[in-house]
Amino acid sequence: MRSRGSAARAGTEWGLRLLILALLAGYLVHALRVRYRGATEASDSQGLTVALARWSVVAAPARVHVALGHPPPVLQRDWLAALPGAGTMVAWGSASLLPSAIAVDPVADPAGGVDVAVATPAAATVELRDTLGTLDSVRAVAAGVRFTVPKLRPALEAEVGSVVARGAVHDSLELHRLLVLGTAQWETKFAIAALEERGWQVDAHIAVSPRHRGDVQQGEIGDVDTSRYSAVVAIDTTAARYGDRIARFVRAGGGLLIWSPAAKAPALATLAPGAPGIPIADEHQVPTDTAPRSALEIVPLVGLRPDAIVLERRGDVVTLAARRVGSGRVVETGYTNAWRWRLAGGDAAPDEERTWLARLVASVAYTGRRQVAAPPTDVAPVATLIDRLGPGTPKLDATGFMTLAVVLRWVFPVLVAALLLEWSSRRLRGVK
């Protein structure tokens, strides 16, 4: 007859056996679920390298979710994009990724430089840097910011929050000559001087006498076409002598920078964004460093064409406008004595006036393009991420597989402990 103690002991052993069987059954069910319904695993940016290796080699989960603190590097992104091919669905989510993109374009300017446009949500802070460090940092006011980097860098990065967009120049520009047309006056002289100092090769036809005998010609003025000239600069109505040739040149892709008084000539009026208005004299104010062009005489642009785009205003009047004609571009300026900015302005005035004029020319200039080797880029990391992996999804529910994972971590020690207890209890009773 068994004692009460040994009966309780046998009951405990049966209980342990049942627990062991239950745990084994649980493991079996879980294994079958993994096998037939699939498991879900998760990682974040820090653990992604290890997780990718595990998902590819060990676990082969049915579904993974990555909580990203920053866009994954290209290798990890491509790896994630390849996982669906191996049967693992990939989802990602992030609360901190600001969509941003960078565009880097060389400027049609012999002095070089690149235009950088960064698209980003308003109020985001954009830090632009190259391999040597930070170049500038700006808070975006609308849909992005623009930078002009005076020296060509092989690659540029724009950091917006945790997102770093990388861009590079892929084209080298082939600049041709400029043709300047005008009468002998200060604006003509100083426009030529500024453009030559900037590095442009300038041909010029400057009207000096009524019948054009004795006109000053600089360079060999050849055919006005895009194989010789990048742009024509028309200072006044004397440029109309080249009217037909300029029109053909612009329609074929050439650039035209025109001073508004030149648009009085019918041959040029058909190309100009607007007509010349009533001149507003400068009253000999000294151009200031902060707003130098506000001290200059203007002939405002009026009667703008429907396709004209206003680039700059002074109060209510238009001072700069642009339009496209055929394949070419035309910019019209109402500043008719910008030479005063250079001559009478502050210490930086000559350089600033030169840069301003060069930018106007660059905005219309025809250029040939030649592809150059460029470092790897990632111009829109978030957009590319969405393109490769689909849109982000919210973070997975914490009561899901994570709870099961925690439970599973404890099952094995409990199982081993139960087996040991049951075995030692039987051995102590003398039962094999």
């Binding site: 002998a184 006056q185 200060w186 030559e196 400057i206 000096v208 006498s209 000999h284 030479w339 001559l343």
Partner: protein, 203 residues
């Protein structure tokens, strides 16, 4: 669009107003030979004033010693370096004269040594073509002053352009007459003055 305005330099020392008929005479020539939009009356502008920068061409002459003030020197340097054209003519036609000695000292103090302008320079052919430049004056040919025929002009070049032109030839005397007198002359001596202005406006 700005007119060409002939400006005469006023400076503190010396006799800057020594050729009073010259501006009107050159304005007449510019209007007579070219289509340049020229103001009918010239102006006088102080070398030390900010107004100097409203006139990219300035004529400076005199007989007496020239000592620029600091403000004048500073302005002249800035003016020439930014693209202004300053013509300085020795009204004495005398390399031993006080104007020449002092004004060349001032120029070299401000800009360093001047460049001798080659007689093939475009200044001598940008409008009228001069076969044996620079054109001589009657004062040279008649032996006044230093009794020399000056074969060259000197210049301060900025980015290859003339920013300051210096002459010992005494064009101030040669061109200092009433414009109407030209009709009694077989050769108009002011044609080189027209070249100076055309060059300044186009180069």
């Amino acid at each position: 669009m700005s007119q060409f305005v002939f400006a005469t330099a006023e400076y503190v020392s010396g006799d800057w107003e020594s050729a009073p008929a010259l501006p009107e005479n050159l304005i007449d020539s510019v209007a007579r030979y070219t289509s340049i939009d020229v103001a009918p009356v010239g102006v006088n502008v102080k070398l030390s004033s900010p107004e100097l920068f409203d006139y990219p061409f300035v004529w400076m002459t005199g007989h007496l010693p020239v000592r620029l003030t600091d403000a004048e020197r500073r302005n002249v340097k800035r003016y020439v370096e930014r693209g202004g054209f300053l013509m300085i003519d020795d009204h004495n036609h005398d390399i031993t004269g006080q104007f020449h000695k002092t004004v060349t000292e001032e120029i070299e103090r401000t800009f360093g040594k001047m460049t001798r302008l080659a007689n093939t320079h475009e200044l001598y052919r940008c409008f009228f073509v001069f076969e044996n430049p620079p054109p001589n004056t009657h004062h040279e040919l008649n032996g006044y002053g230093d009794d020399l025929l000056h074969r060259y002009l000197d210049a301060v070049l900025v980015n290859g352009r003339i920013g300051l032109l210096y002459s010992n030839k005494d064009y101030s005397s040669e061109w200092n007459f009433h414009a109407e007198t030209k009709k009694f002359m077989t050769q108009d001596p002011t044609k080189f003055g027209v070249n100076l202005i055309v060059y300044a406006l186009t180069r």
